[in-house]
């Protein structure tokens, strides 16, 4: 039995080290601090994992050689040292994590002048993207006007002059190397805007306008999926994110505006 335990824990440790060491995350659309940080944290926690699991296995293995228990020494000092070490490790990790948390860099409006604005509206079970058009203003919307069958899923109020040049699409098209300012909204239940290739997600909460900005660096086609349970179509609520070089993006925007 002790041998079986030792084998179990050894196998567990080996399999974990091997598989956690693989690169799992999907292809990146922009350089991100996430991947190296995850690797670093996994390394620290993985070391703790290996040590504790093996210690557990060894403590059972040793049982066979010990017919008599040594006297029970209080572990008092030991535990303080251990608690202190654990506190240093975990709070250290947390502090390092807090430093890269995008407080001002991802949430909130972009500081850049040439940023692109997109309004992302989630609904059961699709994503709508709206660009303000040449006038730079989003037109008014009214809940009572929403009608997807009529081609007006956002309830755009056509009588508003700013609404005339708004562009509504079902694919998120963004340029490389320019900040994209997103206003995230939902008009039914909670959804979550998750672009794995950007290593980022943010819930779309009805009743709230959430501002954030993203930046992509590599042209290509990526996936946007919903990450908050929103109903029976939750799993099929996805859209493509097309990242274009800036000049191509400008061409696309101009073309979409004339349609």
């Amino acid at each position: 039995m002790p041998l079986a335990f030792l084998l179990l824990f050894a196998l567990l440790v080996l399999a974990s080290v091997y598989y956690f060491g693989q690169h799992w995350a999907p292809v990146l659309a922009a350089s991100s601090l996430f991947d190296p940080r995850l690797k670093m944290v996994l390394l620290v926690l993985g070391a703790l994992f290996v040590v504790t699991q093996l210690a557990l296995g060894i403590s059972l293995w040793r049982a066979r050689h010990r017919p008599v228990a040594s006297s029970a020494r209080p572990l008092r000092d030991w535990e303080w040292i251990w608690a202190g070490t654990a506190a240093v490790i975990f709070f250290g990790l947390n502090f390092a994590g807090a430093l890269i948390f995008p407080v001002g860099t991802l949430l909130g409006p972009s500081p850049q002048k040439d940023s692109v604005r997109v309004e992302v509206t989630a609904e059961q079970f699709r994503w709508n993207f709206r660009y303000p058009g040449p006038d730079g203003r989003y037109g008014a919307t009214k809940p009572s006007l929403r009608d997807a069958a009529e081609g007006n899923p956002l309830g755009l109020d056509r009588s508003d002059s700013a609404a005339a040049d708004d562009i509504v699409t079902a694919t998120l098209v963004i340029p490389t190397d320019r900040d994209v300012e997103i206003t995230l909204r939902s008009h039914d239940v909670i959804h979550s805007f998750f672009v794995p290739s950007l290593r980022f997600k943010q819930d779309a909460v009805p009743g709230m306008d959430i501002f954030l900005h993203i930046r992509a660096e590599r042209p290509g086609e990526y996936d946007l999926v919903c990450a908050e349970l929103c109903g029976i179509g939750h799993n099929s609520m996805n859209a493509k994110v097309r990242v274009l070089p800036p000049d191509e993006f400008d061409r696309w925007l101009a073309e979409a505006g004339t349609r």
Binding site: A72, P74, A140, T141, K142, P143, G207, D209
Partner: protein, 247 residues
């Protein structure tokens, strides 16, 4: 929040062996636990058990209202979001409290005094001894009228709350009219429900006081129902202050 009365063991954890296992063979340390003859319960053992139970019950009821109160405070910052031109208009309308609530508060405060008068009576020596020995019921005679008055005051309070609700209806403020009125009806309604539970407890105490053969039971019934009544009174005071000054 009522704190549990510390048990002897809690008050003095060092009296036992503490964290370090005592070597087998050392004499027992001299705690109260060890000196008291085994198998004999501490005095007022049962009373203290019931009091503690009611205390914990009150804690859990307070948590219910604490949850609602935090929702009350957070919800005030809610805004209408259906009008895009004017998206940040708060939808909370201040609700003026019906003035009868002041009277109700006074009623409830007085009822707390009367129930306390009843509660204090049950422990008065030498009458308690007399009644415990079965020589007449001097305590029952003196407590029950106070209990009756408390029940009447409690009913008065509930009637007063009903009048407050009527007044709001007359003003056109219904449960679903506005979050402020929703919370008003919800908080006062749930409090009234719990207070009604308190009334049932008082009625049970009166009944026990009349019929139960064991004096200890009669004492417990009056004591714990009185404590529960106090707790519901304090709860009302907190809710009243919240409704009055918290919006």
């Amino acid at each position: 929040m009522p704190k549990p009365i510390p048990s002897p063991a809690q008050a003095d954890p060092q009296t036992a062996t503490g964290g370090v296992p005592r070597p087998p063979g050392s004499p027992p340390s001299g705690s109260d636990w060890e000196k008291r003859p085994a198998g004999k319960p501490a005095p007022r053992h049962r009373l203290r058990r019931y009091r503690l139970g009611v205390g914990f019950g009150v804690v859990t009821i307070y948590m219910l209202f604490l949850g609602l109160a935090s929702a009350f405070i957070i919800r005030q910052s809610g805004y209408r979001s259906d009008d895009p031109q004017n998206p940040y208009v708060m939808d909370w309308q201040h609700i003026d409290l019906p003035s009868i609530l002041y009277l109700n508060t006074i009623l409830l405060a007085v009822s707390s005094i009367t129930v306390e008068l009843a509660r204090r009576q049950v422990f008065l020596e030498p009458d308690a001894t007399k009644e415990w020995l079965g020589m007449g019921r001097p305590i029952a005679r003196r407590t029950l009228p106070w209990m009756g008055i408390t029940i009447l005051l409690g009913l008065g309070f509930l009637g007063g709350q009903a009048m407050a609700w009527q007044e709001l209806y007359a003003r056109g403020a219904f449960f679903a009219s506005n979050p402020s009125s929703s919370f008003f009806f919800l908080l006062t309604g749930l409090h009234a429900l719990h207070l009604f539970g308190g009334l049932l407890a008082l009625a049970w105490a009166v009944l026990t006081g009349l019929v139960h053969s064991r004096f200890e039971r009669r004492q417990i019934a009056i004591d714990v129902s009185a404590w529960f009544w106090h707790a519901m009174g304090v709860l009302w005071l907190a809710l009243f202050l919240l409704l009055r000054f918290g919006q």
